[in-house]
Every structure is written in structure tokens, then in C-alpha cells.
């Protein structure tokens, strides 16, 4: 059994102190939201999916077997929730304006925004599964083993998928930049 500081809070919640769940929500909301946003790629729906994931986790808390970290279990719920939202919506067109294009690199202004826009455009052209694993990989919060657990895919498959997805993303970006250069 893994020792996880969240287990103490879970015990309080299961003991009837429902309000303690707010501690877990505050602790993980940014990561859960990041997962749903990267998959759904639309602010409002991503937030709804993230809230839904927390709700599902709360209702299933009694069944959480504590074999993994609470966060990993929660992220898996968030991932599955986001994927099912995405499938339901069958979203093919995404709103570039609605994305969080934030970076803490040294550059600023239009150039940086343009580059991020092209990278996001390239990301959008990736398949749903490639985009999901790449998003989790670049969030840097998750190890490859954790990504494997969240997506319920063998670790070796995830490694290969991430590698191939990175190559495809670079190719896609090159194509976009070439097209952009031609239209200028």
C-alpha cells in the first residue's frame, strides 16, 4: 500500500467531514483542469469536465482501493471524463482564442504568441490519443509510468507513442510554418 498524505484527508471525508474535500479540490484543481483543457481544448467545457471529474471522484471515494496515489487515480478519472466529453461533443473545430497560450520563456509580444499559436495549431492536427499523451508529457507533472497509469496503457507503449507523437508534431509544425511562409 502506498503512503500518501492525501489518505488522511480521505479518511476525514469518509468519516463524514465532507467539507475536507475542498482541500483536495484546491490542491489538484489546476492539474485536473490542465488535463481536461488539453484534451477538450475549450475553456467552458473543460472546466465543466474538471468539476465533473471531482464529483465522480467524490462519489467513488469509498471504492478507492489506495493501490496508487490519490492524485493518479483522480487524474485517470479526469482523463477519462475529458475523453468522453470530447467524444460526445465530436469537436473538430477548436477556438484558438479560447486557449491558454501562456509561456514563461524570455520572449514577449507578437512573435511569442504567433509561435505558440502555430504549436497549438499543430497540436490540434494530432490525433486525440497523441494529443492527450503529449499534453500530459509536456505538463512535466507526470512521469512516463504515471502517464501510463492515467491513460491505462502499458508504459512501453506510452514511451513509443510519445516519441512518435513528438516526431509527428515537429513535422506538422514544419508544414504549418511552410504554409504560413508561403502566404506571407
Amino acid at each position: 500500500m502506498t503512503r500518501d498524505p492525501d489518505y488522511l484527508i480521505i479518511d476525514r471525508i469518509l468519516g463524514g467531514e465532507t467539507d475536507a474535500y475542498a482541500i483536495l479540490v484546491n490542491r489538484y484543481k489546476r492539474y485536473v483542469y490542465a488535463i481536461t483543457l488539453k484534451i477538450i481544448m475549450a475553456d467552458g467545457e473543460a472546466e465543466e469536465a474538471a468539476q465533473d471529474a471531482f464529483l465522480k471522484a467524490f462519489n467513488a471515494l469509498k471504492n478507492f482501493n489506495r493501490e496508487s496515489k490519490f492524485s493518479t487515480w483522480l487524474y485517470r478519472i479526469a482523463f477519462n471524463t475529458a475523453v468522453s466529453y470530447q467524444r460526445r461533443a465530436k469537436r473538430r473545430e477548436t477556438d484558438i482564442e479560447g486557449l491558454h497560450i501562456t509561456s514563461d520563456s524570455g520572449e514577449s509580444g507578437l512573435e511569442k504568441e504567433d509561435k505558440m499559436k502555430f504549436i497549438h495549431k499543430a497540436m490540434e492536427r494530432m490525433s486525440e490519443s497523441d494529443r492527450s499523451v503529449l499534453s500530459l508529457f509536456y505538463l512535466q507533472e507526470f512521469s512516463l509510468d504515471e502517464i501510463a497509469e492515467i491513460t491505462q496503457t502499458p508504459a512501453n507503449t506510452i514511451k513509443v507513442r510519445i516519441h512518435r507523437a513528438r516526431v509527428r508534431l515537429a513535422d506538422e509544425l514544419k508544414r504549418i510554418l511552410k504554409t504560413e511562409a508561403l502566404t506571407l
Binding site: T18, D19, Y21, A22, V25, N26, K29, R30, Y31, Y33, A34, L37, E47, A50, Q51, F54, L55, F58, N59, H100, T102, S103, D104, S105, K115, M116, I119, L134, Y138, L139, Q140, E141, H163, R166, V167, L169, A170, L173, K174
Partner: protein
């Protein structure tokens, strides 16, 4: 550069960027990058893309995120639990009030009037020098008070456990 060579270089570039090469391998690859303009361009593009993707900050959900989740939890199974408890309580106090009303209606309490005289308590004069007044006890009046209190409790419970959560959930949905 043919497709195969390009794929190989791409793999090598990713290995280099991920720091998976040995020092010797990295040194040799750096030399290759310096020598080959095409590879150098690829390296710069890939490095820039990786840098942007890795520097992406975690997005912030709305300020009301936690309170919204907690509200939804309250409106879910917890609401049903509270609702059930409230309904049981309302049922209980209504039964007591109905029982009281039945007793009054059937006239069971019509003759339950008596006078309570404290003076009859032995040795009381030691503590109370003046004569104490006598109290009239009216069972019917008492039952009316019980019915009234029960109905008041029933209304409060109805408001807090049924009506208020119902209208709140309607407003949030």
C-alpha cells in the same frame, strides 16, 4: 537527406534533447550538428518547439471552481441524505401534532384540569416564608401548545431541508 536518415536524425535529436545520450555520444552528435546545416536547423526548430511546450504554465480554472464543486456535491447524494432525514423528522412531528389534535377532538383532555398547590409540599415554609400561589394546570391548553410547537418545528424543517435546497439547486442548474 532521405526519409530514413531524417527519421534516424529525428530520433537522435530527441534523445539528445532528453539528455539520454552518454557524454561521448552527445559530444559526437554536437559535432555533427555543427557540421550539418540542415541538422542544425532541425535541432533549433525542435529545441524551440520543446522549449515552448515545456514552458507552458498550468492553466488556472475559474475562481469559483472549488465552491462550484462543493455545491454540486451538496446537491448530489448528500442532499438526498439530508432530504430523507428532514422528511422523517417532519413525519415524526406531524404524527405528534395529529395525535394531540385527535386527543383534543375526542375530548380526552376536557377533564384534565387541576390545581397545583405548592403549599402542600412538606417543610416548604422553612424556605418560603410567604404563602405560595396555586397554579391551574389545563391539559387541553398544554396539548395546544405542544401541537403549535410541533407544527412550528415541522415548518422550519420543511423550509431548511426541502424547500431551500430545492430552490437553490433550481437556481444553480
Amino acid at each position: 537527406m532521405n526519409m530514413e536518415a531524417e527519421e534516424k536524425y529525428m530520433d537522435e535529436l530527441l534523445r539528445y534533447l532528453d539528455g539520454l545520450m552518454t557524454a561521448k555520444e552527445a559530444e559526437a552528435f554536437e559535432h555533427l550538428i555543427r557540421e550539418d546545416n540542415n541538422l542544425q536547423r532541425k535541432y533549433n526548430d525542435l529545441k524551440e518547439m520543446e522549449m515552448y511546450l515545456r514552458s507552458t504554465k498550468l492553466p488556472e480554472p475559474s475562481a469559483a471552481f472549488t465552491s462550484n464543486v462543493m455545491q454540486k456535491i451538496e446537491a448530489g447524494p448528500l442532499l438526498w441524505r439530508r432530504l430523507t432525514k428532514g422528511l422523517i423528522l417532519i413525519f415524526g412531528v406531524t404524527i405528534v401534532a395529529a395525535l394531540g389534535a385527535y386527543l383534543i377532538a375526542t375530548g380526552t383532555l376536557d377533564n384534565s384540569q387541576t390545581t397545583i398547590t405548592i403549599d402542600r409540599v412538606q417543610h416548604l415554609e422553612k424556605f418560603l416564608p410567604n404563602a405560595t400561589p396555586a397554579f391551574n394546570f389545563d391539559g387541553k391548553l398544554m396539548m395546544n401548545v405542544v401541537i403549535f410547537l410541533n407544527l412550528a418545528v415541522a415548518l422550519i424543517v420543511l423550509d431548511r431541508t426541502v424547500l431551500k435546497p430545492y430552490f437553490q439547486s433550481r437556481r444553480t442548474s
